[in-house]
């Protein structure tokens, strides 16, 4: 499909608006309702603004009412009175007679068109009037119903339903909430970072005992199987006991104790913990130690 038809809504063309048969003047007098409605119409310039000077033209606040030209009058004026009178057809040529006949046919068509159009307009008006009546009736029923339902006893619930159910946050409240969210996210991120650091530190401390060379491996094997055999055997026994379900309180005591001390002093397996390392790196501990030493020296002196 070509682009040319796009502007016409994909139609190949648009027919012009149908010209009204009764132009210029209305065919009936206005009803009381129409008059009442049109009396509100005002035109021209606002109050206090001087009118432009225009020769042979006067401004009217209210539109001037057009004279009524009924269908009968139109037929009389445009058709009947224009019909040529007293023609002697014997003097006319064939063509002229035919022309007269054609004009006659045209006049009849015009008369028919006038009558049909008047009928159509009448029908439309009748439909509009009926619709208006129906709407008026329905609205009066609704009004009556709302009055009857006596919503006076249920004012609060009806008032809830009228407005929004929930009050939205004010801009200040919204800002507060957003800041709280940011804070929560950062706190969470910090917690995760600290946990990771702790794990890394634990790994670092544990790495001190890792066997990395062949000599160390041989040394460890020798120690386990030749020098310190009893330790190996006791550990083996503990594991066997655990597997068989026998709970040995003494075997757990050491580990429990170490866990408690670690938590108390913020250490990892007896090694310095994250906080201690942090403060050492910051130089806080060193500063404190120096200050203490200084005060001790001053007192002794």
């Amino acid at each position: 499909m070509s682009k040319r038809s796009l502007k016409l809504g994909r139609k190949s063309g648009v027919l012009p608006r149908v010209r009204p048969v009764f132009k210029r003047y209305p065919i009936r007098h206005k009803t009381a309702e129409e008059k009442a409605e049109e009396s509100k119409i005002e035109q021209g310039f606002a109050e206090g603004i001087p009118l432009p000077q225009k020769k042979g033209f006067t401004f009217h606040r209210q539109p001037i009412e057009k004279p009524v030209l009924t269908v009968e009058e139109r037929i009389k004026r445009n058709i009947d009175e224009r019909r040529p009178q007293n023609i002697d057809e014997s003097k006319l040529s064939q063509d002229e007679i035919w022309q007269l006949k054609r004009d006659d046919i045209r006049r009849e068509h015009l008369r028919e068109a006038y009558l049909k159009e008047a009928e159509r307009l009448h029908k439309i008006e009748e439909l509009k009037r009926k619709q208006q009546e129906r709407e008026k009736k329905a609205s009066s029923v609704v009004k009556q119903h709302t009055e009857e339902s006596g919503s006076l006893t249920l004012p609060t619930i009806d008032s809830y339903l009228k407005g929004p159910i929930m009050r939205q946050r004010t801009p200040e409240e919204q800002q507060l909430v957003e800041e709280q969210r940011v804070l929560n996210r950062r706190a969470q991120e910090l917690e995760i970072q600290e946990r990771k650091m702790n794990e890394l530190l634990q790994l670092y401390h544990a790495a001190a005992n890792f066997i990395t060379t062949e000599e160390e491996l041989e040394q460890a094997i020798k120690e386990a199987f030749e020098v310190n055999v009893s330790k190996f055997e006791s550990k083996q026994m503990v594991i066997e006991n655990k597997l068989s379900g026998y709970f040995n309180a003494f075997s757990n005591m050491n580990t429990n104790e170490s866990i408690v001390t670690d938590e108390m002093f913020g250490e990892i397996n007896g090694q310095p913990g994250l906080n201690k390392i942090k403060s050492t790196l910051d130089g806080d501990v060193e500063k404190l130690r120096r200050e203490a030493q200084l005060s001790i020296n001053q007192r002794s002196a």
């Binding site: 329905a138 119903h145 159910i165 009050r167």
Partner: protein
């Protein structure tokens, strides 16, 4: 507005009346409020109160996005001679089968005729209809006002 929520409401109220509970709470939303108000106007329940999950409010509380999750509507259920007033409460439209009624169908339903698969209205039974402007009205009222809309649920 969700028919699934309405289905939950129907089931909840039926469960409560089956075990003779005096008051119950439902989530606070416009649709729930409208349906419950309809039930109250028709005399199926004795009271409607705003409240939270812990109970009805003693002082009026504003509904905000911060407390909407805990806001509830507290309903007082009715019993006569040890029998619940609400015996049946079920959906007509389902999420998978919405029943839009024209105003003539609404009138037919209100005058006791069956409409499509909807069985005729029984004595002491109500059908709630949601109109185009999101109003929930009883079928008789809808017929009187010449309204059309979605058939929501029936209560007996």
């Amino acid at each position: 507005m969700s028919l699934a929520h309405l289905a939950n409401l129907c089931c909840h109220i039926k469960n409560c009346t089956n075990v003779h509970v005096a008051t119950t709470s439902i989530p606070f939303s416009r649709m729930h409020l409208q349906v419950v108000l309809g039930l109250y106007k028709q005399g199926f329940i004795s009271s409607i109160q705003k409240g939270s999950t812990s109970g009805p409010d003693l002082k009026p509380v504003e509904v905000t996005p911060d407390n909407i999750a805990t806001r509830r509507l507290w309903l007082g259920l009715k019993y006569i001679n040890n029998r619940p007033v609400i015996e049946q409460m079920s959906l007509i439209s389902k999420p998978s089968r919405k029943v839009n009624l024209t105003s003539t169908e609404v009138k037919a339903l209100a005058s006791g005729l069956p409409v499509r698969f909807i069985k005729p209205l029984q004595p002491a039974e109500c059908i709630f209809i949601r109109t185009k402007n999101k109003e929930i009205v009883e079928v008789q009222e809808a017929a009187k006002r010449d309204l059309s809309g979605l058939a929501l649920c029936r209560v007996k």
